[in-house]
Symmetry: C2
Subunit: 182 residues, 2 copies
């Protein structure tokens, strides 16, 4: 189990139970015995390492929790929708929170000191309720001069709840970086 | 001066000084004498009345302060950008705050109990710094079936800093309303 988790730290107890054809209870007991933390804690360990890579904003400025980050390639974050994120009357998550999660991920993915959103086209495709966990997946679609296009798709379970295309302006500070590493 | 302000409660002391060809100092003294509150306080009085009209969300859920609202026509809100709205490294306002101001105004303008953002195309046209005041102006461009298009333009002084087109989904609850007023 330790090896399996080293390869894929994001496996849930359920996934592990499936893989080893045992019950979830067995997996939990084995984890306790081997002192392997639960998924949430494992993710945090990975996330801490990933966050050190973020360049364009301070890690604590990211809305949601980054669990995967390959600069200028892809990034994933999770946001647990709580009561303070929803409209009082309807219990539906307010759009700007889903936007903030996606937008800050689009900033975090940029491998430059400065990244600013220039334009965004976004769609809210399914209502999100308090208690649901939104997983945002960002990927870089291309860079032309100082403009990088980042696509973000956010899911609850496997259902698409939000999608957006972000055009990010970035400063080309490669010169500065080169000097720093010399 | 009292008459002038009744017609247009949003005039600044500077506007009044211009209109009456006197110094700003004179206007201030006159205001004190006539017990006319300053612009900010006058706006709050108007805003309180306007807010009672908001239907699709609770007034305290609006990001920024609504100072004008004609349901299904136009709305204006102001947001004072503070240190908690900006990126620590650059001092530039984070996009999701400008988005939240515009989006909640697009919700507030809808004359229905339920208004949800379906799609938005937004542009950030100039960086905003802490200490600046953003004035967002929303106007309804049209309604087709249950979709209303709202255009929002946000300014600092007279410079456009943000623009967005929001496609809002609304429930047609006119039946319910009719019953309530009978």
């Amino acid at each position: 189990m330790r090896e399996t988790l080293e390869e894929n730290p994001f496996m849930t107890d359920e996934d592990l139970a499936d893989q080893f054809s045992v019950s979830i209870q067995t997996i939990r007991l084995d984890r306790l015995e081997l002192a392997i933390p639960e998924l949430r804690e494992r993710i945090k360990g990975v996330a801490k390492k990933q966050l050190d890579d973020v360049k364009a904003l301070s890690p604590e400025e990211v809305i949601g929790e980054i669990i995967d980050l390959q600069l200028d390639e892809r990034a994933i974050s999770i946001l647990d929708v709580r009561i303070e994120h929803v409209f009082a009357r309807t219990g539906i998550a307010r759009g700007h929170h889903l936007f903030a999660q996606a937008n800050s991920l689009a900033v975090a993915i940029i491998n430059d000191e400065l990244a600013l959103t220039q334009k965004a086209t976004i769609r809210f495709t399914r209502q999100v309720q308090a208690g649901e966990r939104v997983i945002a997946k960002a990927s870089v679609k291309g860079t032309e001069k100082e403009r990088t296009t980042v696509e973000v798709k956010s899911y609850v379970d496997k259902e698409l709840v939000f999608s957006g295309e972000f055009i990010m302006f970035r400063t080309n500070e490669r010169e500065t970086k080169r000097r720093e590493t010399e």
